[in-house]
């Protein structure tokens, strides 16, 4: 098979990959870049467990071909190290925002994005922003509470 050379910056580190044309970003991140926080739930864009930042915007890594990402910057849960991420992770722990933990990396990426862009000013808004992430354990309430709590902590 034809392999394509791709340069990515994954969590601040330059990574040179050689990928097959049909490799998705999710597969490349898990298998080649070693960022195992990227979870694959549905693999067709519904569940949000594979959400990552691509050039600063959240995308479904299972619906993104690695071949289309040459020269781009990727941030996964492993690379989230700012105060917002710390507050959110702490709130998820405190508010019991996870049980099995499978959806959690995607939830934190989505939550981090809405906290950063200040799109979580009410419970309704949080739920709307969270609509693309599926959790089969918590019933969402604890996750919504955690994001609201992190928001209060960041800007009381």
């Amino acid at each position: 098979m034809n392999r394509i050379p791709i340069n990515l910056t994954v969590n601040g580190r330059t990574t040179e990959l050689s990928v097959e044309p049909n490799a998705t970003l999710a597969d490349s991140l898990r298998e080649q870049a070693g960022t195992h926080s990227v979870h694959l739930g549905c693999e067709h864009g519904v569940c949000g467990a594979c959400n990552v930042y691509l050039n600063g915007a959240v995308v479904r890594s299972c619906l993104t071909l690695t071949a289309t990402c040459d020269g781009m910057e990727i941030t996964t849960l492993e690379g989230l190290s700012d105060a917002t991420a710390a507050a959110l992770k702490d709130a998820m722990h405190r508010c019991h925002g996870l049980q099995c933990g499978f959806c959690t990396p995607g939830m934190i990426i989505t939550g981090h994005d809405m906290l950063t862009r200040k799109l979580c000013n009410s419970e309704t808004e949080i739920r709307q922003q969270l609509c693309g992430n599926i959790c089969r354990c918590t019933g969402y309430q604890a996750i919504v509470t955690a994001i609201a709590s992190a928001q209060e902590e960041i800007s009381p």
Binding site: I4, E20, N22, N51, T68, D113, C131, G132
Partner: protein, 279 residues
């Protein structure tokens, strides 16, 4: 399922993309945002041997003056419209509409051109652009042509695009750019899902009303009696509007049950009520 094998080509220019498309014919599928195509390929509903990736073509990306020039380049993303703060009625309509397309992460990649060519009966952009009376621009080896979107979309998931053509832009005329009133309403089982009922009502710059509903089997349809009622009456009672909406909806989906007709009619009157509020 994992994606089947294919070859990936990513030209830097439209000319190169058109030449590649002409050379490969039916073996190739155009990759815009991939948010519908890649799931379809995972399920083997589509198995192209080559994906022609349009993401590196600068000419196809959104330009800053799109809402003034009326030229919406094909690779503009849903997120670009959801996040813009254009204060004109058209700008606010586009933002409100884009903010309800799929999930935030899907909006980052999904494109206007992809949505129009996909022509899903419940798709958001086809409905809005039909209500705005838009045209599409198609480019291929044989030249560039423009046609009304209403003629371009020929049925559910069916368009008039030829094998050697790329949809390069959606074009809005001055009557759409200067629209004065707008309303839209969308019903979904869950936020981010395809609509079970979707409606748009706009009053264009010339004073003409245009009401459309989507998410019906045959694809978006104009609600001509409602538009006429809005044109001819300055003050309208809700019950008259609803009765008119019922008639319009029944005419385009005669096979649908009472519940579906009611859902579309009520949703349509919500869009119209929102459009009238701005009066």
């Amino acid at each position: 399922m994992k994606l089947p094998y294919f070859e990936h080509r990513a030209p830097d220019s439209l000319e190169e993309a058109i030449a590649t498309l002409a050379a490969l014919g039916s073996d190739v599928k155009l990759l815009a945002g991939g948010q519908s195509l890649l799931p379809a390929m995972r399920y083997r509903l589509s198995q192209p041997s080559v994906l022609l990736d349009l993401s590196r073509i600068e000419d196809l990306r959104l330009k800053d003056d799109a809402l003034r020039s009326g030229r919406i380049d094909a690779m503009s993303t849903h997120a670009q419209f959801a996040h813009q703060n254009d204060p004109t009625p058209l700008g606010r309509l586009m933002a409100a509409h884009a903010q309800q397309i799929a999930f935030p992460a899907v909006r980052t990649r999904g494109t206007v051109g992809g949505s129009v060519v996909h022509a899903d009966p419940a798709g958001d952009w086809p409905l809005l652009f039909l209500a705005l009376g838009a045209q599409v621009e198609l480019s291929g080896q044989r030249g560039t042509r423009r046609m009304a979107l209403s003629s371009f979309i020929s049925g559910p998931m069916q368009t008039d695009i030829a094998l050697d053509e790329i949809l390069t832009a959606v074009l809005l005329d001055v009557s759409a750019l200067g629209l004065t009133h707008w309303g839209r309403a969308k019903l979904m089982h869950r936020a981010g899902e395809y609509a079970v009922s979707s409606a748009v009502a706009v009053r264009r710059a010339g004073g003409e009303w245009s009401c459309w509903i989507g998410a019906i089997e045959a694809g978006p349809a104009p609600m001509t009696q409602c538009a006429e009622l809005l044109r001819s009456h300055s003050s309208l009672k809700h019950k008259d509007m609803l009765a008119c909406a019922y008639e319009d909806v029944r005419a385009v989906c005669p096979e649908s049950g009472q519940a579906a007709v009611h859902r579309h009619a009520v949703n349509l009157t919500r869009a119209i009520a929102q459009a009238l509020e701005t009066q």
